[in-house]
């Protein structure tokens, strides 16, 4: 595929759509790059708004989460992420979770992010499907026939999360995966060569450990692991550990001026 000749974008641009953006800004602007969180299948910007966005803002990072258009295909969702990133006053750090990582990976081919973080990334839909069938066959099989994907608490969360909290989150999580999730298109080369970090848990029942290693290798590194946590690292009891590690990494990769 040509990077320069973009006939599809020239002749059939993605139309404008409403995009919901949740933002929290630090009290004083210390010039840190804005963070743009991108949710994956089944959840929305709320999952980041729960703990992470406020925490990141508290550490001086303007933090935003975008809900790409509902029902949009991968191209439209990546467009929404790039549009949102380009609307921010400074070059943004793109942070995707789950299938949102795949949207981020696509967006990285179109926007020179300051840095990128892929959390429990579902870059390979087939590996995720295999894992889902193993851990929750009853909730997964209907989705193969166009139905709804249902999850169990055990599948998505670590053992530490209180059952009632897990149940409350589960009520908000639901997904009807699109067929294109299971296509294996090649991920674009990120423009501008941003530093990229892969974060996950070896005990994630959605994204197997090997998938984390493969994703990290694709972006030239090793995954940063948080044993004992589930797929939704930002909703777990120990949510602070991964976000602090990500922000520490950003402080190291993009040192604050002065």
């Amino acid at each position: 595929m040509s990077e320069l000749l973009r006939f599809e974008d020239w002749s059939d641009p993605v139309p404008a759509a409403e995009r919901e953006v949740v933002s929290q800004l630090p009290d004083d602007d210390r010039g840190r790059p804005p963070l743009l969180f991108v949710p994956g299948l089944g959840h929305g910007a709320w999952a980041f708004a729960e703990h992470w966005i406020g925490h990141a803002a508290g550490r001086g990072f303007p933090a935003h989460a975008v809900n790409p258009r509902p029902g949009g295909d991968l191209r439209a969702q990546a467009h929404d992420v790039v549009q949102t990133a380009a609307s921010l006053p400074r070059q943004a750090v793109l942070i995707g979770h789950g299938t949102g990582s795949r949207v981020v990976a696509r967006a990285l081919g179109r926007y020179p992010a300051r840095a990128a973080v892929l959390i429990a990334p579902v870059l390979d839909g087939w590996a995720a499907l295999g894992a889902a069938l193993r851990s929750n066959p009853a909730g997964t099989v209907p989705a193969l026939f166009g139905g709804r994907l249902t999850f169990s608490g055990r599948q998505l969360f670590g053992p530490d999360l209180p059952a009632e909290e897990a149940a409350a989150h589960l009520e908000r999580i639901g997904a009807r995966p699109r067929a294109e999730l299971f296509s294996r298109d090649t991920l674009p080369e990120p423009v501008g060569g941003p530093p990229t970090l892969v974060v996950g848990s070896p005990d994630d029942r959605v994204v197997p450990r090997q998938a984390l290693d493969r994703a990290a290798a694709r972006y030239g590194g090793a995954p940063l692991l948080f044993p004992g946590m589930g797929h939704y690292l930002m909703l777990e009891t120990s949510w602070a550990e991964p976000i602090d590690a990500i922000l520490d990494w950003l402080d190291k990769e993009l040192p604050p001026a002065g």
Partner: protein
């Protein structure tokens, strides 16, 4: 104080001349590859030609883009998708200001500083003389490379018409507001996009409008149905099919006495103006041939007719100027045309490039972006792998001119740097691949 200029050696830094659209993307892409960059801008703000506050800006109040958003924006920084298909020139400036801010380019730009001379200093390095536009002393700085992005729409070309004219003659660059046209008889000379735009504005405000053109152009509408026409033209297709698509949708203005085009649609910069046929059809614009001479209150035309306009606007274009560099450095010929590889790379100086010196049949920004990416990667390759760079240079010297330039096809003074957007990007892409594969 000593009056000898102080020579500052900027080491591996690159000098960019101009902070218009091309200069900004050169600055951004060089920074992205890790170069230190000093960008000099004679005005006090970014935007170049698109900044109507600049005294050299050619934009007029009613100017809108003639290519639609997806064919106009930088490929890695889209315009807001809620903007109109053909944004206004003030939005283009806002976009460039946002680009500069987003990528933190401001701190690398020296405003109010004009580059007055660029001289080879040996070993591929350059001595650049910079002078404050507010007066004062000049200084010389030494750079590892220079990227010239001084634009090509600021030095007006005026036609040489014999005789004296009693009315008023202005160049299109001095035309800003339609109020100037109100209740006057106006002659617009020039069939390019600016000439057609002004003729249409005159049709809406002036008492009588003559539009004088010499060459025939291809005239395209801004819309085909409800789609921006250039988006329809840019469906993936071989050149012959694109040619046929263009021919089928072009407006034939010969009925109104406008000359037929003497070239194929893809060979020259298109005229994009859906309103010109409209106002010709309403009789508000009268197409007339070339002007042969002025005679007091009247203007004589090539067909012998005499007309009596009160205001003549010459929309006869602009020419690139590189006063700060010796002609042989850019291989500039007697007509002022530099001879550059891909209209970008100086042939004898591997550390000198020009960005934005192309006239594509789509927006300029995407081409300027990819030119700067190529320049930045070339400079890096030259610094990190000189042998590979020499190899790429040798391969590039064999690239046939006709594959990226329209130069031979329309041999007028004005059209030598026209390129086909698609063919040109293909050439740049293959250069990028050559540099990539030689890593």
């Amino acid at each position: 104080m000593q009056d000898s200029p102080d020579l500052g050696d900027r080491g591996d830094a690159v000098c960019v001349v101009g902070a218009g659209a091309s200069g900004l993307t050169a600055l951004k892409n060089l920074r992205e590859l890790g170069f230190a960059v000093d960008c000099y801008e004679r005005e006090t703000s970014v935007g170049g030609a698109w900044n109507w506050r600049h005294d050299r800006s050619p934009v007029y109040a009613g100017a809108h883009l003639i290519s639609s958003r997806p064919l106009t924006e930088f490929p890695d920084f889209p315009m807001p998708d809620t903007w109109p298909d053909y944004p206004h020139h003030s939005q283009m400036l806002e976009y460039l200001e946002r680009y500069a801010k987003h990528f933190g380019l401001g701190e690398h730009i020296w405003y109010g500083m004009e580059v007055t001379s660029i001289v080879p200093a040996g070993e591929g390095r350059w001595d650049v003389t910079i002078k404050s536009t507010g007066g004062g002393t000049s200084r010389v700085q030494r750079y590892a490379a220079v990227v010239i992005a001084n634009g090509h729409n600021w030095a007006p070309v005026t036609p040489e018409i014999p005789g004296d004219f009693a009315g008023q003659v202005i160049h299109a660059s001095a035309y800003k507001e339609p109020s100037r046209l109100r209740n006057r008889r106006v002659l617009v000379i020039g069939g390019g996009n600016t000439g057609c735009d002004i003729a249409v504005e005159a049709a809406q405000h002036a008492t009588r409008v003559w539009h004088s053109t010499r060459r025939g152009y291809w005239h395209f509408p801004k819309y085909l149905g409800n789609r921006p026409a250039d988006q329809v033209y840019h469906r993936r297709a071989p050149a012959w099919l694109r040619d046929r698509r263009l021919r089928r949708t072009a407006a034939d203005l010969t009925r109104w006495g406008v000359a037929a085009p003497d070239h194929a649609p893809l060979e020259s910069h298109p005229i994009v103006n859906g309103l010109l046929p409209h106002y010709l059809g309403h009789g508000r614009i009268e197409a007339v041939p070339d002007v042969t001479r002025y005679d007091g209150a009247s203007v004589e035309l090539a067909d012998g007719r005499r007309i009596e306009p009160e205001l003549v606007i010459t929309a006869t274009g602009y020419r690139p100027r590189f006063d700060f560099v010796a002609p042989e450095v850019l291989d500039i010929d007697a007509d002022g045309r530099p001879d550059l590889h891909l209209h970008a790379f100086a042939r004898k100086h591997p550390t000198l490039a020009v960005v934005g010196l192309v006239q594509p049949n789509a927006g300029l920004l995407p081409l300027a972006h990819w030119q700067s990416v190529a320049v930045a990667r070339w400079l890096r390759l030259r610094a990190t792998a000189p042998e590979k760079a020499a190899e790429v240079q040798k391969e590039e010297s064999q690239r046939p001119l006709a594959s990226w330039s329209r130069r031979k096809v329309v041999p007028t003074q004005r059209h030598w740097f026209e390129v086909d957007h698609v063919e040109y990007l293909k050439a740049v892409e293959s250069l990028l691949h050559r540099m990539e594969s030689s890593k």
